[in-house]
Symmetry: C2
Subunit: 210 residues, 2 copies
């Protein structure tokens, strides 16, 4: 049985939950309480020394400790339905847009959130090292989120999915970013009709409720 | 013929040059002069609207505009030798360590460099949007580089390659990061014997001279 070390409120494990659901893979869940910093405790670091969620334990006991590893493993082990593209060109588009959703979307939101919220003092980056907040980075994060929404909206003009003609991990990463932006009071609006249409259509997929 | 839009002094296009060489793929080179900001000019933005290098034009005229896309495309189109792993577990290890070398290594160096160098004023991030420098982010970048060297050294204890039993894109990304750290006066030293051994062994590969 696959086991996901998860946290219901955090964006990174949500990416893994949706990926598993889209593959049709059942799994056990072990909740990790980020609010009490359980991820930094000795017990969880025995599982994932990087002290981050998600982590995925496979049926034969391997543990993958980030979304890049989890997606690569699951796609190779359970190829259908494909979420990383099939042809060389599809694989390139998916990798590119997944990376952009991660760097321009999720990372911008994380910068805005982690560098401004009192509860994240000294936790400006995830992982085992404490880094102090940088207020100017929070501000820059907000500006980058606005740019990301504009870029995503432009890409989605006339398209059902971000990377290719079918749903892919790039859609997963982007939807998790777009939804999580609410934590810093950002959401797509009138200026983003294509993005809003894409998000509304995705809501039909059961995985999006996860 | 493959065509690489390249810049000899920048780390990101070096990743693509090494990847192509390890695949044994000949290609034409179009130099892009980052010093004069040619990448931001109209001509280059016709090729890559994101205004970054590298970009790779394929034999059938597709253009991939980041290393994620370039690696995914080349691996699928020219599978031998494999650089992204073969088994599901290998693919996971390669994706994970490539991502870490990118985020914990290259990004930390970019933060340290772009947020401190007078020539990079207003260019704290690559791409079409200008962002001002954040001095505190330059400082944090230096601390993260030190942590990255320590992590990489620990990983390489008893190992020939970072991710799996064979050379992979994770080695490429990591070596480009380690070499580029010199631009902010950081290099591995006595505290990093495994990292130094790995780097010395890699020097035997012709691709490393690129």
């Amino acid at each position: 049985m696959l086991t996901l070390y998860d946290c219901a409120t955090a964006p990174s494990p949500r990416r893994a939950r949706i990926f598993l659901a889209e593959k049709g893979l059942a799994h056990a869940t072990v909740p990790v309480d980020l609010r009490s910093r359980e991820q930094l405790g000795e017990a969880y670091r025995q599982i994932n020394p990087e002290a981050t969620v998600p982590a995925l334990r496979t049926e034969d006991g391997q543990v993958w400790t980030d979304n890049a590893a989890i997606a690569a493993y699951l796609e190779a082990r359970y190829p259908h339905p494909p979420l990383l593209g099939v042809t060389p060109a599809e694989k390139a588009e998916v990798a590119s847009w997944n990376g952009r959703a991660e760097f321009e979307g999720l990372m911008a939101i994380a910068e805005a959130f982690r560098n401004s919220t009192p509860a994240m003092a000294q936790r400006a980056l995830p992982g085992v090292v404490d880094y102090p907040q940088i207020p100017a980075l929070a501000e820059r994060g907000l500006a980058r989120i606005d740019h990301f929404f504009d870029q995503l909206n432009a890409r989605l003009a006339g398209r059902a999915f971000i990377a290719t003609e079918r749903f892919s991990v790039a859609d997963i990463t982007a939807v998790v970013a777009v939804d999580f932006a609410r934590i810093v009071k950002r959401q797509p609006g009138e200026a983003h009709p294509h993005l809003l249409r894409w998000r509304a259509a995705l809501a039909q997929r059961p995985s999006m409720a996860l």
